[in-house]
Symmetry: C2
Subunit: 187 residues, 2 copies
């Protein structure tokens, strides 16, 4: 009665992937968590690829909403970028978890095509949002330079998360982000 099974499955699966990756996601373990048999998971998501793609799609959609909220709430670029890096920070503070699409990008060659496509879209929505943010302030950078800087910021943040997670130390993330700012990569 507490909500539909499909959403429950996705919530449990999302936590699992952020902790252990797409390869670490087990239908049988997932079934135990949710309280059904593994064959039932297949009723809602015929294949593991279907589930993975649904997770990445919802994740990107949620990210777009959250990021756009930052733009609306503040005119200040520095404030927005701080909120942005804090989103990635929050994954780490949630039991040393990682960005759903960051961990899946590392598993690139193991992903079914439909999952890969959705993971790519996460990069797209991040870069698009960062371009929007960087374009608000007047700047002498060309459109192409701005796009490349946006891509660089996204990649650097993902890298900071990856390395901090490896160390299991959120201070590593904070120090790295601060070093990016000092160097001038982050506005």
């Amino acid at each position: 009665m507490t909500g539909d099974t499909k959403a429950t499955i996705m919530d449990a699966a999302r936590a699992m992937v952020q902790a252990r990756g797409y390869n670490g996601l087990s239908f049988r373990e997932l079934a135990k968590d949710v309280g059904v048999k593994s064959a039932s998971i297949h009723y809602h998501f015929p294949t593991k690829g279907d589930l993975g793609a649904a997770l990445a799609r919802r994740y990107s959609d949620e990210a777009v909403d959250i990021f756009n909220g930052f733009l609306e709430a503040s005119q200040d670029t520095e404030t927005c970028i701080k909120k942005y890096t804090d989103v990635f920070r929050s994954a780490l503070s949630n039991n040393n978890r990682m960005c759903l699409c960051g961990i899946m990008a590392a598993e690139h060659d193991d992903l079914p095509p439909e999952v890969r496509a959705e993971v790519d879209r996460f990069t797209d929505v991040n870069v698009e949002w960062l371009v929007k943010l960087l374009s608000r302030g007047r700047s002498k950078a060309t459109a192409e330079e701005t796009r490349q800087r946006a891509l660089a910021i996204f990649a650097a943040v993902e890298g900071a998360q990856l390395v901090a997670r490896g160390r299991g130390d959120i201070a590593v993330y904070d120090q790295t982000i601060e070093a990016y700012r000092r160097a001038g990569l982050l506005p």
Copy 2:
């Protein structure tokens, strides 16, 4: 006759992990590649963790040698950092592969402790080397600032590789590294 089995196993396993991750490494597939039965792999490496740790250890050792070669060959910081980023580039140009320890860092929660320890050591040797490089030129940065910048460079390069690999596009890596340089993160 062409060399010992143990080295052959490690070479095949290394390629496999750089493409598909630690979780994607299969003893049975590996055995087929090498031409033995999977039980024989266990003779040389009792557990998958033993193999993974041996791979990461050898990888870090080789990296140290290569990096130190750069320092000896050139006094120029810009040249050394270019060679450094080119090492990570070469993984991508080798069939879109990834840094062995970068991909394993993403799988952090799935790794046996002995593998995790060796993966951590790769971060250490990279940061140590970058500190050595950054310290050669005289600079007003404190030792702690230098260490944090070294960590930031390593994280940013790993992130560039991760994102470029996700896109399957080495141009993304090149553009991101160039943007790091423009921003002043890379010397």
